[in-house]
């Protein structure tokens, strides 16, 4: 039995007495795509913010590949191999798409500040490799035509794609996508789905936090469901769909009885 890539144990986060995340534990095996769903306010985003270092946790530990990430600052967690995207889509509007991606690779490549200023062959080699990977990723997400354009020209959906590509840039072990398809049109949703499949096929492990239950159910073989800061279900989509606690959480008791199944 190998150790899971990500282990989260007893993660707890309180805001002024309100427990947003209550002793949540889960593991993510390498090479999988795991969905994290739950109604509004169930603690999904808080979990992402905590394990990526953006919010201090009040309890619990988390480890990536056996290395302790608990309490590290966001940039250290990213360098350790776990990156994330944001619900409110973020990009460097004034930088070109390629620079948007190359920034995301430059901190882990071992080239120091003086080398960066000296512009020696080492730096040129590293930057060339980063640019090649950036172009590859832009091709994967279908934005290769805009490689030299500033990110400010992209549409909302395109920015989501760029953010996913940027999350992959440093060859992380694990990527957490925070609502990758929220507010995105159906055509673009299919595109993002294909991109996630392709990246997973290349060996990237992903956690996907979403409101869009259909999207999660078709994409993930394992789904974790949260309600009011607690984990209430964890298993394959088929089981999740028929889990009475999940139905109650999502549809309320009445809705669950009326609909009889978990499709939205």
């Amino acid at each position: 039995m190998t150790v899971a890539l990500l282990q989260v144990r007893g993660l707890t986060k309180r805001y002024l007495g309100l427990t947003a995340v209550d002793e949540v534990s889960y593991e993510v095996e390498a090479g999988t795509v795991v969905g994290l769903i739950g109604p509004n306010g169930s603690g999904k985003s808080t979990i992402v913010d905590c394990i990526s270092g953006f919010q201090p946790a009040d309890g619990g530990r988390w480890l990536l590949d056996g290395h302790e990430l608990t309490g590290l600052s966001p940039h250290r967690i990213a360098r350790a191999g776990m990156t994330r995207t944001f619900q409110t889509v973020r990009a460097y509007d004034e930088l070109t798409l390629l620079d948007n991606l190359c920034v995301a690779a430059q901190e882990g490549d071992g080239v120091g500040w003086l080398q960066a200023l000296g512009r020696g062959s080492r730096l040129r080699g590293v930057e060339k490799a980063a640019e090649a990977r950036g172009r590859d990723l832009l091709t994967t997400v279908g934005l290769a035509d805009y490689a030299r354009a500033p990110a400010g020209i992209l549409s909302y959906g395109q920015r989501k794609l760029l953010a996913i590509a940027a999350g992959m840039m440093a060859r992380p072990r694990l990527v957490v996508l925070d609502e990758p398809v929220a507010g995105v049109n159906p055509t673009m949703i299919r595109r993002i789905e294909q991109v996630i499949h392709r990246l997973n096929a290349e060996g990237v492990t992903l956690i996907i936090v979403e409101h869009n239950v259909d999207f999660i159910m078709s994409l993930c073989r394992r789904v974790i469901v949260l309600e009011a800061g607690r984990k209430i279900a964890d298993g394959p989509p088929a089981l999740i769909r028929s889990d009475p606690r999940v139905l109650a959480a999502y549809l309320g008791q009445r809705g669950a009885a009326a609909r009889g199944h978990g499709r939205r």
Binding site: P74, R79, T83, Q106
Partner: protein, 326 residues
């Protein structure tokens, strides 16, 4: 790449032309404008690095400028240091002070830094006025000697003529801008811009914002400190007015009109705005009114500065239908 060579050629040409000015005219007034441009361009270039590239509003530059001035003046007059060593020490001290105020306030937020930098600049003024045993208070340190610089090859350069200080400050400005240019066009500059544009995103990609912010602050403080050390010997006096808010105001105007985050924009606006108050001298009554009018017009025409206007044009070009690049 062709554009790169053309630009390099123009830069060399421009620098050569600036260095040739004293040969064309010995007019002290023109040289004084040149000294003022060289000095202010270093200050605004440093502020641009901190504010324009890294996104930290800073009022501390004038403090670094004055610390450099006082340090160099005291070391040269009381410890018999050379001007080189005195100015360098002023720069290093300013950079260390910059690291201290940056490290202590940036752990809170960038707003905290803005407030601390403002308090720091005011504190510098108070210290210069009140620590009489060191700074001689409001009288300052007048009558700074004409410095003699040792040059490589055993040459000695006595800075006796106005043109000498013009050469010295212009030469240092060229070095300072070359350093700033090297940083902002490297991937360090790219990381600084990333931090300014979206700090959480940069953090999520492994960028440590604090280290880049401290680099920007320390470098700008170093340059401001050195230029302060050189400038006070041109003035032949250092007194508390070196911490005047006027310097801060001028630097900020230069950066804002030039476009924060635009190297050439801020350099260009430093040149124009160093000369503008004097170009408007033809009408003494309305001089400052016209100066204000020019600033207002510039902000109306270029709300993001000249650099911001160029950036918007670039965006517009990409937004045109069918604008897809190879």
């Amino acid at each position: 790449m062709r554009g790169g060579w053309l630009r390099a050629f123009l830069v060399v040409l421009g620098v050569a032309a600036l260095f040739a000015i004293p040969r064309v005219t010995g007019n002290e007034y023109v040289l004084a404008l040149g000294v003022s441009f060289a000095t202010f361009s270093v200050l605004s270039g440093g502020l641009n690095l901190v504010y324009g590239y890294t996104g930290l509003l800073s009022f501390a530059q004038v403090g670094f400028f004055g610390i450099g001035g006082y340090t160099a003046a005291l070391l040269v007059t009381e410890q018999d240091w050379s001007l080189w060593a005195g100015a360098a020490a002023g720069g290093v001290l300013a950079a260390l002070v910059g690291l201290v105020i940056g490290y202590s306030s940036l752990r809170l937020s960038r707003h905290a830094f803005a407030i601390v930098s403002l308090s720091f600049a005011l504190l510098c003024l108070i210290v210069a006025l009140e620590w009489v045993s060191l700074t001689r208070g409001a009288m300052g340190i007048p009558g700074l000697p004409v410095p003699t610089l040792s040059l490589p090859g055993g040459l000695r350069w006595r800075l006796g003529r106005p043109a000498d200080f013009y050469y010295l400050l212009l030469g240092f400005a060229v070095v300072a801008h070359a350093v700033i240019y090297l940083v902002v066009t490297s991937r360090l500059g790219r990381a600084m811009r990333a931090i300014k544009l979206n700090e959480p995103l940069a953090q999520s990609q492994g960028v440590n914002p604090l280290s880049y912010k401290l680099l920007a602050i320390a470098l700008s403080a170093l340059l401001a400190g050195i230029v302060g050390g050189l400038f006070v010997f041109y003035l032949t006096i250092v007194d508390p007015s070196i911490f005047d808010f006027y310097y801060t105001e001028t630097m900020l105007i230069m950066v804002i009109i030039g476009g924060p985050g635009s190297f050439w924009g801020v350099l260009g606006s430093s040149a124009v705005l160093s000369a503008l108050p004097d170009l408007l001298r033809f009408t003494t009554d309305l001089r400052m009114v016209l100066y204000g009018a020019v600033l207002i017009a510039a902000m109306l025409l270029f709300p993001g500065g000249v650099g911001g206007w160029l950036q918007r044009r670039r965006l517009a070009r990409w937004r045109r239908p069918g604008a897809v690049a190879p």
